[in-house]
């Protein structure tokens, strides 16, 4: 009764919306904060790689933080809005354009029926986030929208795909809420990390190398960031397969460091020498191949 009154009073006007993919980007997927509570049956957490930027995009249009966003990596897609919508873009700068006219990031934008939103190559950062009012509404699986192969039907956006989005308020107040980009989030090269369960397996000299050297990224996927081999970190320690999670930094016997990211498996067999903070995961998610990072130990 109360709700019904509210709705009448506000004269909400809802329209069902969707977005069509005209041209996919390098790796676009629908993500939310993750699929929690299913690790015991081997289901990865998934979810946005850079949670800070994704939350920012949602916040700009006063979405719930549970709303799904579109994550775009390296090169963004070309999208057509099938009805008007309210959106916001945050994260890596992919020079977003609305009908070929550059638009601002970090602010609320109105798009009209038939508008084309296009993204280019990331100028800085690696992953950009598009939020739409009331979120993307693909099929929820195991309590989450986060795309994952074998769990959700839609994994990577393909040409022609139509993605449902939440109902849009026809009248939306436009203030001047834009938020400055926190450059430190993109420029920071130091990742905060806790000592991992197997940190002590490293020799003091190896610990020293791990915490003073810079490590170059050679591969970057939603599963893991891999770093260039460091022969001086080679070791002969073996562990029985055990739990891993996003942010776990594993060290292979040959001295290869791998920082596991959101799509990582739930168990792994390499020593877990560090555990990145949530913030460090978000910072790393904006790094590209060839960039270097350092690790810094933090304590509980």
């Amino acid at each position: 009764m109360k709700l019904k009154n509210r709705i009448t009073w506000l004269k909400w006007n809802f329209i069902m919306h969707s977005i069509q993919v005209i041209k996919p980007g390098y790796c676009d997927s629908i993500q939310d904060l993750g699929r929690f509570g299913y690790a015991s049956i081997g289901v990865p957490v998934s979810g946005v790689m850079d949670a800070l930027s994704a939350k920012m995009a949602n916040a700009l249009i006063r979405n719930s933080q549970q709303n799904a966003v579109l994550e775009m990596a390296l090169i963004g897609p070309v999208l057509m809005f099938q009805k008007e919508a309210v959106i916001a873009i945050s994260g890596a700068d992919m020079s977003p354009k609305l009908n070929d006219i550059p638009v601002k990031m970090q602010t609320k934008l109105a798009v009209k029926t038939g508008d084309i939103l296009s993204f280019g190559k990331a100028i800085y950062g690696c992953r950009s986030y598009l939020a739409v009012k009331n979120g993307f509404r693909t099929d929820k699986k195991l309590n989450s929208y986060a795309a994952f192969n074998g769990i959700t039907d839609l994994v990577i956006l393909k040409k022609g795909v139509i993605i449902p989005i939440g109902k849009q308020l026809k009248i939306f107040r436009f203030g001047h809420s834009s938020i400055k980009v926190d450059r430190q989030h993109f420029n920071n090269e130091v990742l905060d990390a806790y000592k991992g369960p197997e940190f002590e397996l490293l020799t003091p000299k190896q610990q020293d190398i791990l915490l003073t050297d810079g490590f170059q990224i050679v591969k970057n996927t939603r599963m893991a960031y891999q770093f260039a081999d460091v022969p001086s970190l080679a070791h002969k320690c073996e562990i029985l397969t055990s739990a891993v999670m996003p942010g776990t930094v594993q060290l292979t016997q040959s001295g290869k460091l791998m920082a596991l990211m959101k799509d990582c498996q739930t168990t792994g067999g390499y020593p877990r020498i560090l555990q990145l903070s949530d913030e460090a995961i978000a910072v790393l998610a904006q790094k590209n191949t060839c960039q270097k990072i350092k690790f810094k130990i933090i304590h509980l």
């Binding site: 929690f36 049956i41 081997g42 289901v43 699986k141 029985l240 055990s242």
Partner: protein
């Protein structure tokens, strides 16, 4: 058995047993898991592996020592358990060259006949230590030593769903298409993971698996029955 406790990042606690693959440790882990589920608060997930149990906490740890004291107390307190039953699942496997993509290579390098392999592979009662690697993928203990083979040097890019493989000292079933480094010796028509079910995975840590051989005709017949939701995996209560 005196497990040890470590903080794993700021929002997880790792509990470890001696580094052995053993039934005794598995049962102790599962017992502790059930006690935690009924008496500990503030976690959103609880996972187990060969010799470890990980508690995923909703909030960052503020007082680690206090949490450990609570957990140690829970570990030591006897509890009346409601449901620690385990099942034996009968899993049909077709050991045919069509499905056993690496069968020829495997038999040659192990110097075994197909009959010997089937005999050795279907004999044991395999123990599910935990699920990981892929959704619903069971880590099985109990492979006869004579069937061990080092993992492939170059993993295959697309191992089909349902493939039964052997790698190192382990055997298992690929629950979905995935890259993998194990030698594929057969295929089961049973889906081990269905995201659309309320309980997507019928296998649980502590359960047992028994493989039995089926022909290619049976494979297609069972696949058909599964599609029509007309096939029930045979199972029975496990008595130690």
């Amino acid at each position: 058995m005196n497990p040890s406790f470590k903080a794993f990042g700021s929002k997880a606690i790792l509990i470890e047993w001696p580094p052995q693959i053993s039934e005794t440790i598995l049962l102790d882990i599962l017992l502790f898991k059930q006690k935690i589920e009924s008496r500990f608060k503030g976690f959103y997930d609880l996972t187990t592996a060969y010799n470890s149990l990980t508690i995923f906490l909703q909030n960052p740890i503020t007082d680690f020592d206090k949490q450990v004291a609570i957990l140690k107390n829970i570990y030591q307190t006897p509890i009346r358990l409601s449901n620690l039953d385990h099942y034996v699942w009968q899993i049909p496997v077709c050991y045919d060259l069509e499905f056993g993509l690496d069968l020829e290579f495997y038999l040659k390098s192990k110097n075994l006949s197909l009959d010997q392999l089937i005999d050795l592979h279907t004999k044991p009662l395999y123990t599910i230590h935990f699920l990981g690697f892929l959704p619903g993928f069971p880590y099985l203990g109990g492979l006869p030593e004579t069937l061990n083979i080092p993992r492939k040097f170059n993993p295959s890019l697309n191992v089909p769903k349902g493939s039964v493989g052997i790698g190192g000292k382990q055997t298992g079933v690929y629950t979905m298409e995935s890259p993998g480094g194990w030698y594929v010796i057969g295929k089961t028509p049973i889906p081990f993971f269905d995201v659309n079910l309320k309980d997507p995975c019928f296998l649980k840590a502590g359960d047992k698996i028994k493989f039995f051989e089926i022909s290619k005709d049976d494979f297609y017949k069972i696949s058909n029955e599964i599609e029509k939701q007309n096939y029930l995996v045979k199972m029975e209560l496990y008595h130690a």
